[in-house]
Symmetry: C2
């Protein structure tokens, strides 16, 4: 720890952004050093706090001391806010019209030597390195904004739901049995009993339709998918809603459409700076999001590409990209609903379309080539639920609270689930979903790579 002069304990700290309004005043700031440029008798550094970044200019004696600063050092400073000459105004940062003339400097916490260049505009690292040094790389001005976008996505999801009179609830992580009957579930030793980690809040949100009629929940959901792709994680933050008294399954699609439009509008408004960092423009959304049955989509794909996947029960990743291209070119929309997946490809509680037997009143929302949301109408007849579960080999009696909800009176209902990381990934044009998760979990890593811990 070293000091130029004594920092004044009685002076209150200002936020960096507030400096713009304090030209001519002496203020105290504190934060992290982002870049240092030394030119002998004059040195500059950028200082970052929660509100923004500002340039600090130091001359003579102070300049020498600034030149010994390192990136990520935590410092407290005092100095005068100076308006910049017109020609030095930096339009790229919010505080670009001012700088601080350094008077006093105190290093509060000295950073270790950087393992790579953290002072550039971009952070050009391989993914494993980006994640091996996650506590550091998250601080980079190219990385931190990603999770500001995620924050807006999640917060605006909640607001969208609140405006439609949905009640927020807390869904459990530990569950007695998986809702979907799949094998890709993590098992927990629960006081000597076998329990599982929730792959979704599905059963609980349906139960709560019986209580609050309209409910939503934000959750970490966990899937033991034994595959490494650029779009799957073992742990994702999902945005779930479910509501009763629908007149038809189209009510579910309309609510999902309202929700994603609300989210995208919020991102445009509240994450403008962050979008700029990625030169990202928001997905185009048609006045009404186009809808295609899966079979129609497969026909279109065959016509466009010659690829005949008409017998597949789902879109392949390649097909998802192709149908998105089609939607943008033909319908002016980056988002498209694909509906009517076959009964056997959807969970046992999915409603079969009485007008199109064998196919379900369900939909995925495909955005810029990948799935953002899945949803649809659910079966609300307990006898049919029990029968369907049995067909799939699911011991539904283990989920007796779920059956209760339907036995004791349940209206027609449906809902949907968005993956927040996928929305963020596609808005910012990230190439791997791991970049859209603060601390991504996959087969190879829980913070640290397993190969490292096991050496």
């Amino acid at each position: 720890m070293f000091m130029v002069r004594q920092i004044s304990p009685q002076v209150a700290r200002s936020t960096i952004i507030s400096a713009i309004e304090q030209v001519g005043k002496e203020i105290k700031l504190a934060g992290w050093v982002e870049r240092v440029r030394s030119h002998g008798k004059i040195s500059f550094f950028d200082l970052r706090d929660r509100s923004g970044t500002i340039q600090i200019a130091a001359f003579d004696e102070e300049a020498a001391q600034v030149s010994s600063l390192s990136v990520q050092d935590v410092v407290e400073i005092e100095g005068e806010v100076k308006a910049r000459d017109e020609k030095y105004i930096n339009p790229e940062i919010e505080t670009g019209s001012v700088e601080i003339r350094l008077k006093k400097l105190k290093v509060i916490s000295k950073a270790a030597e950087m393992p790579f260049d953290m002072g550039g505009k971009d952070l050009d690292l391989e993914l494993p390195t980006l994640l091996d040094f996650r506590a550091l790389t998250l601080r980079h001005p190219k990385i931190a904004p990603i999770f500001k976008v995620q924050e807006v996505v999640i917060d605006s999801f909640r607001k969208a739901m609140q405006e439609k009179e949905f009640t927020e609830f807390q869904s459990p992580v530990i569950i007695p049995q998986t809702a979907e009957g799949g094998a890709e579930v993590f098992e927990v030793d629960y006081f000597g009993h076998k329990a599982f980690l929730a792959q979704s809040p599905q059963f609980y949100k349906q139960i709560l339709v019986g209580v609050y009629e309209r409910v939503f929940t934000v959750n970490k959901t966990l899937r033991a998918e034994p595959s490494i792709t650029t779009r799957h994680l073992a742990e994702v933050t999902t945005l779930d809603a479910e509501f009763g008294f629908i007149d038809s399954w189209l009510d579910v699609l309309l609510m999902a459409e309202y929700t994603i439009k609300y989210i995208l509008a919020a991102v445009a408004e509240k994450a403008e700076k962050e979008l700029e960092v990625y030169s990202a423009s928001l997905p185009k959304v048609a006045e009404s999001i186009p809808r295609l049955k899966l079979r129609e989509a497969q026909e279109i794909i065959m016509k466009r590409t010659g690829r005949d996947n008409r017998k597949e029960p789902d879109l392949t990743p390649e097909d998802e990209r192709e149908i998105s291209k089609y939607a943008l070119q033909e319908k002016g929309s980056d988002l498209i609903f694909i509906t009517h997946y076959p009964v056997e490809k959807r969970p046992f509680y999915t409603y079969e379309d009485p007008d199109d037997p064998g196919y379900t009143l369900s939909a995925d929302l495909i955005g810029k080539g990948i799935e953002w949301m899945t949803g649809g109408q659910r079966i609300n007849d307990p006898a049919l639920l029990t029968e369907n579960a049995k067909k799939r080999g699911i011991d539904i009696k283990k989920s007796d609270l779920y059956l209760q909800a339907f036995a004791y009176g349940m209206p027609p209902e449906g809902g949907f689930s968005f993956g927040s990381e996928r929305i963020v990934m596609q808005i910012l044009g990230l190439s791997n979903i791991r970049e859209a998760s603060l601390f991504p979990r996959d087969m190879e890593r829980v913070d640290t790579r397993f190969s490292k811990t096991e050496k």
Copy 2:
């Protein structure tokens, strides 16, 4: 399914609460039957939807059909909104100035026979029954409000933090090692590797102080506490905040104080109806929440009760209740901070008070006899963190992201964590924390009691 007359599909459904404004009009409503009273030629029932409850009156032919309704049946009705005679106004429900004169009735989903009386004002069940039938009991007008209060507590926590420029983040459930080094952690088989469930977002919120300076997160946290008490759960929803550039640990206490006052004010404003159901008055909070060192508290308790626990490193449950009594009687506050727990009783990252060696700059907030919050200043020196972890037998190298955060520059920082269920429990005066959890997890139950599933 039966009908009096055909329900009009073209009429839009109104919410129950909107009926107040539609006197004289014919409207359509839908919801759950709450109580049925039949008196021959006249029958009444209460109908519930997401917005409230209303009385439906039926005469003659319709009365006979209403008398066949059961509690929890899901129905759609049409009828005329009638203003009630002055003497029949029911001040206990929001719609008490009106009732609906039934014209048409359709049962959408018939409920099975109730296993107990769901039509009363109270729900007098033993806890195991309350939970065995959770999907049903949550619908009771005495139970559903509990989670409306939880919703307000959680939502207002987020708002309180946002107003102070905290960034919300998503903390992982699956972690490589426990933050606190305790044994009470659930283990997961993670693709053949050993991983754990997060007992808290502690490490991650500290890491993110380095990124966003001020952060908060709402999480399900999991503790394998092998004990059955009225105030512990295996899964709780915690409200966590952490922030840097504190001038002293008192900044942490002041931020926690601001936060709980904000939450309580929000509950008073937004959960007025729900508080009335429990005849609950909000905890008294002194202008400034009183603070006592643990040792001072133990002295006071000894003087008041003769109980000498001055050598204990923590308050016993009995002591927590006694010090709360003291705080209310002597300081006019239902909330009190107990500070300066001994170093060995707090996690390895807790800051030791340089002016009171052996004791920490940490605090618990005790509210109405139990702990609501724990928090304090953290060590931000990576060498000291490593040394302390080692003393406790924690292999801190396994948490290399955590160490990184401190190695690469970290300001003085601290934070706190509230338990949402405990706040709700104490606000409403519930006798067991399980009542304040939608789907409580403990040693004996994950939805269904283990003794039942294993029979």
